[in-house]
């Protein structure tokens, strides 16, 4: 691409890393929460397969796929799970998050 140079762009403008406390611990928290969600999901799949068949063959949990309705329900659960975390992170937690905690 000789002859074509960059315009006065943003290619080299860095992000605004603040080095905040959040920047250090939120990633760790989310990485751990991902693992926890994977396990929660796996447990649900296993329970479902066991309830239906009494026994789970190797690979069956991996192969299980939700239909669109099921996927929507899982998405709702996952969002609620992340929401409960985020309610602890954001100073102004979403109302549902606060209410859900208060209700328990």
């Amino acid at each position: 691409m000789s002859g074509i140079e960059h315009g006065p762009g943003t290619a080299t403008v860095p992000g605004t890393a603040t080095g905040s406390t959040e920047e250090r611990w939120v990633p760790a928290l989310l990485t751990m929460a991902r693992e926890l969600w994977v396990l929660k999901d796996r447990q649900r799949v296993l329970e479902e397969l066991l309830a239906a068949k009494g026994v789970v063959a190797p690979g069956e949990a991996d192969a299980w796929q939700p239909d669109p309705g099921r996927q929507a329900a899982i998405d709702g659960e996952c969002q609620a799970f992340v929401q409960r975390l985020v309610a602890e992170i954001l100073p102004r937690a979403p109302r549902e998050g606060r209410d859900a905690r208060g209700a328990r």
């Binding site: 691409m1 074509i4 140079e5 960059h6 315009g7 006065p8 762009g9 943003t10 290619a11 403008v13 860095p14 992000g15 605004t16 603040t18 905040s20 406390t21 959040e22 920047e23 939120v26 990633p27 989310l30 990485t31 929460a33 991902r34 969600w37 994977v38 999901d41 796996r42 799949v45 949990a61 991996d62 192969a63 299980w64 796929q65 899982i74 998405d75 996952c78 969002q79 799970f81 992340v82 929401q83 975390l85 985020v86 992170i89 954001l90 100073p91 102004r92 979403p94």
Partner: protein, 354 residues
């Protein structure tokens, strides 16, 4: 083309999507806090770089910013790797079918070799990893990142907005169409469905993405002709096409390249031919606060050329390239997306530029 994921990959992608939704909520909280302290269009004055710097300063001082930024950062830093991992978990099972789909009526010419443009090579666009970051990157991006993540979080039907863009065209049919920035073939599908009799060619510098477009074309039984070439140097003869079209390419280009793409489109269109390009909302259609938000998010989201591309008035640039009747406007979709450039090559035009 569905790629069924194993449980770990599937649940991980669900989790990344949920973090994306939470990030949007965080952004809304920050936006509210900014307005509450009076940071809006009225105070964001002066040239764009200064306005954006003032915005960055103000936004970083809102109470929710650090948490929002940390959520956003996790998504950007991890989504590409998690999608590649999810693919790798099922690779053994899906690779034979994906490889088989490389064979069929859609052809792919890998022509660039080491001549991949410098502004493109190795750049981690969207922080996903560069477009060639994985040996099945087209499948990873098209089927996991785009369909399962972008599709879920963008709001609205990301495929329907490609189809509805074609309503802006003047003719009921086109015989020869060139698509710029074909990528994994999402817009190519829209073109092929609307114009089933057309010969459709596509160019993109990313071989990995074109390989997926080839699979998509073959799966549909289409005879697309795909070329690993850049939109600003397509190698086609003057006047080769009746329509040159593209979706979501321009904001990925440095400004001089973007202008070169318009000149190249003009050259390869026949007189009377049409240009139709859909992309992100440019700064000329946004108020200062919206510009500053878009610019801020682009800098954090792996969009190295966003500011310079979004600063161009494409209607004026198209006219400068020789086009007439250039219009640059919001799509009539519920989300008013994409922003569309439509222009015509004059019937009286010579085969090369003005």
């Amino acid at each position: 083309m569905d790629i069924p994921l194993h449980q770990r990959g599937r649940a991980s992608i669900d989790f990344v999507a949920a973090v994306g939704a939470a990030t949007r909520q965080g952004r809304a909280a920050v936006a509210g806090e900014l307005l509450a302290v009076g940071v809006g269009d009225a105070v964001l004055t002066g040239p764009l770089p200064e306005r954006c710097a003032a915005f960055d300063d103000a936004v970083a001082r809102t109470p929710s910013y650090a948490a929002f930024a940390a959520l956003r950062e996790w998504g950007y830093a991890h989504h590409g790797r998690i999608a590649m991992e999810a693919f790798d978990e099922v690779r053994e099972g899906v690779a034979p079918a994906l490889d088989a789909l490389r064979h069929g009526p859609t052809t792919l010419e890998p022509t660039l070799g080491d001549d991949v443009p410098a502004y493109f090579r190795g750049v981690a666009f969207h922080r996903t990893g560069c477009w060639d970051a994985h040996d099945y990157m087209g499948a990873v991006h098209g089927e996991i990142i785009h369909r399962r993540l972008v599709g879920r979080n963008f709001g609205g039907d990301i495929y329907a907005q490609r189809r509805s863009m074609l309503d802006e065209l003047r003719r009921p049919a086109y015989a020869r169409i060139l698509e710029l920035g074909t990528s994994s073939g999402n817009f190519t599908v829209a073109l092929a469905q609307r114009f089933p009799a057309a010969t459709i060619c596509g160019v993109d510098p990313s071989l990995r993405m074109l390989e997926q477009a080839q699979r998509v074309g073959n799966e549909l039984g289409c005879a697309w002709r795909l070329y690993q070439r850049a939109a600003e140097a397509t190698g086609f003869d003057d006047g080769s096409f009746e329509l040159v079209a593209g979706y979501s390419l321009l904001h990925e280009l440095p400004q001089p390249v973007l202008r070169a793409v318009l000149r190249e489109a003009f050259r390869i269109l026949e007189p009377g031919g049409e240009l139709l390009l859909g992309d992100v909302v440019p700064y000329l259609a946004q108020d200062p606060l919206a510009q500053a938000w878009a610019d801020h998010e682009a800098r954090h989201g792996g969009e190295p050329y966003w500011r310079e591309a979004c600063s161009v008035d494409l209607a004026a640039a198209a006219s400068a390239a020789g086009f007439e009747s250039a219009r640059y406007f919001f799509a009539a979709t519920p989300r008013r997306f994409p922003f569309i450039l439509h222009a015509c090559k004059p019937l009286a035009a010579g085969r090369t530029g003005p």
